[in-house]
């Protein structure tokens, strides 16, 4: 288990922290954040490669804040792998064992078999493919049986197919070894594939921690929602608000939502894409009346993107707004670019970011 308590690290004008987070034993924790948010700094602090300005770091209950990197029992796979170019694959993998004075040929063999790299053991580093380098780097860390594996964008240099395959492989290793993993990335698909829990780092601060679904359902703020690539986020002004219903003036037109907000304030809001229903012919849809107090807007299909389980339509509304709508495969044949249509969504589908 990793416990970070009020950890602060200052570098120049940038401050990482104060950070507080607990990562459970055997958990796969993904650290998400934009470039420059401090992800690599945090990982380097965990690895002991940077001295924290204040705070404490506990691994399995032991305070390791002032402990040297070599005594922390962590495996570190940096970005671009940093394989030693003057050593062979075998020497790279055995490097940590030799440094600890351990002779463990069997361990090397079993890790290499698990990662399927036995065939390149005697080769140099220069001729290896990206995937092979990544596996050698993982083997170099795993051969030491680390309590915690720190992965800094381990698949960012790989092509899409190799990335997915490697992610699955890392996940398999994680399951087999039950190692706690802290994995840095800025790719949502990769996160979806790997993470038990996710931490979102922004400007050196952990703004939200939770399962990815929880983050999608209740993003901390509009920036988190945007970072998670949540669709249909707009700005609006509260025109009228009561305990029953609120009316917003937005680029989509007048929108009704639940909740009470102060009149005249500017807000960001999301229209949940799966909750939007569509009708091809404008005027034939659900009518807005007292019995059906939802939002109905008219638009024109400008693009359709086939996804695995649905089709995503991009619909232009008014002069410049675009809204994304997810439709089932059965609806695909009925809609083409340029088709006029009517969209309906209930007030509950509108989430205001406070």
């Amino acid at each position: 288990m990793i416990e970070v308590r009020d950890l602060i690290f200052d570098v120049g004008n940038f401050r990482l922290g104060p950070l507080n987070v607990s990562i459970k034993e055997g958990e796969y924790f993904v650290l998400l954040g934009r470039p420059g948010s401090g992800k690599t700094l945090l990982l380097e602090c965990l690895a002991g490669l940077r001295r924290a300005s204040s705070g404490a770091l506990l691994i399995n209950g032991q305070d390791v804040t002032q402990v040297e990197p070599r005594k922390r029992g962590l495996g570190y796979v940096p970005q671009d792998y940093a394989l030693f170019p003057h050593l062979s694959v075998r020497d790279n993998i055995e490097f940590g064992l030799k440094a600890r004075g351990v002779s463990a040929t069997e361990k090397v063999s079993s890790v290499c078999e698990m990662l399927n790299i036995s065939y390149i053991l005697n080769r140099g580093i220069q001729g290896l493919s990206g995937g092979e380098r990544q596996r050698v780097s993982l083997a170099r860390a795993l051969v030491l049986d680390p309590h915690v594996l720190l992965l800094d964008e381990p698949v960012s240099a790989l092509d899409e197919e190799m990335r997915e395959r490697t992610c699955l492989e890392i996940q398999r290793i994680h399951r087999e070894t039950n190692t706690t993993v802290v994995h840095i990335c800025h790719n949502i698909e990769e996160t979806r594939l790997m993470a038990d829990r996710v931490g979102i780092l922004r400007d050196g601060k952990l703004v939200q921690v939770g399962a990815l679904d929880e983050l999608y359902q209740e993003p901390e703020d509009v920036d988190v929602a945007r970072f998670l690539r949540v669709k249909n986020i707009y700005e609006g002004v509260i025109e009228d608000s009561s305990s029953k219903q609120t009316t917003l003036k937005t680029p989509l037109g007048q929108i009704k939502c639940k909740g009470e907000f102060s009149h005249g304030s500017n807000v960001h809001f999301e229209v949940t894409a799966p909750a939007i229903k569509l009708n091809k012919s404008a005027g034939a849809g659900q009518q807005e009346d007292d019995a059906n107090p939802g939002n109905t807007i008219k638009g024109k299909v400008v693009n359709s993107i086939p996804r695995a389980l649905h089709v995503e339509y991009v619909v232009s509304v008014g002069s410049s707004a675009l809204i994304h709508v997810f439709a089932q495969q059965s609806d695909v044949a009925t809609l083409e670019k340029g088709d006029q249509l009517e969209l309906f969504f209930p007030p509950e589908a509108v989430k205001i970011f406070v």
């Binding site: 002991g48 490669l49 990197p69 940093a82 030693f84 170019p85 490097f95 440094a99 170099r140």
Partner: protein, 273 residues
């Protein structure tokens, strides 16, 4: 002539290539012409003298061992100093960094004068001499003089070489269980080997060719503080120009052989030697 590594090019492209090759060949021709002039000046008697005279043998041996010892001492200081300058930022870093380069740019005679003044006119210098470590007019002084003038090349090259070694390699080594010492010797030093070798070559070459400051600091005593460049001066000063020229050729040949040998063992360096 085919340049397979070059892109397809038109007439202007060919003129571009030809211009650069022409300038390079002009430079080379100048060197060859000078060498040719030297060769025509030497006669068989001078060559015989070079191979048979005790003075030449002594000077050659003295040049070789002093330059080699100087290079080793320079590396002993250059490797830690180059690493420190590359990795650590400390107060006065820019001053130290500049001071390292000074001996490269100031006239070599200044080093000879400085050493002479230090050891003969300062209390610390005189105390060192009194302790039995005599440098002025002594063979040991040759090494000190060469070191003062050539160590900068080793330090500068080592710094550049360590700059080129990504610190991530060292970081990974630390997380894999290395102490800073082991990380240095197993990762940083092997990766900087090319640049350090280049520095060693430059240091050796500089030490091998030094003359002016030696004349001031250790004098030109035949068979005692005589290196090859001193022999050239001594022979030329008594009018035996053929002998001086023959020694010059020997110096060029020995220097070329040693440089080629060091390049072979050191591989291609990071500063292109």
């Amino acid at each position: 002539m085919q340049f397979t590594q070059q892109p397809v090019q038109s007439l202007s492209g060919n003129i571009f290539v030809a211009t650069f090759i022409f300038i390079s060949l002009s430079f080379l021709s100048f060197g060859v012409l000078l060498l040719f002039a030297d060769i025509t000046f030497i006669n068989a008697e001078a060559i015989k003298w070079v191979f048979t005279s005790k003075e030449t043998h002594h000077a050659l041996w003295m040049s070789l061992w002093t330059s080699t010892l100087t290079t080793m001492i320079a590396l002993f200081f250059a490797i830690p100093m180059g690493y420190a300058l590359s990795r650590y930022r400390f107060p006065g870093h820019i001053f130290v960094d500049t001071a390292v380069d000074l001996p490269i740019v100031f006239p070599p005679l200044v080093a000879g004068m400085t050493l002479l003044v230090f050891f003969s006119h300062t209390s610390i210098g005189r105390w060192i001499e009194d302790m039995g470590l005599e440098f002025v007019l002594q063979p040991k002084g040759i090494v000190l003089c060469q070191f003062a003038l050539s160590a900068s090349f080793a330090i500068r090259s080592a710094k550049v070489a360590f700059d080129d070694v990504d610190t991530r390699y060292e970081h990974v080594a630390l997380t894999l269980g290395c102490s800073p010492w082991r990380s240095f010797f197993k990762v940083s030093l092997p990766l900087a080997k090319g640049g350090i070798t280049a520095g060693a070559i430059l240091t050796w070459a500089r030490a091998f060719g030094i003359f002016g400051p030696l004349m001031i600091f250790v004098g030109t005593f035949r068979g005692r503080t005589e290196v090859l460049s001193t022999t050239i001066y001594l022979e030329q000063s008594v009018g035996r120009l053929e002998n001086a020229m023959a020694i010059s050729m020997l110096l060029i040949i020995v220097a070329a052989c040693v440089l080629i040998f060091m390049r072979r063992i050191g591989g291609r360096s990071s500063i292109g030697l």
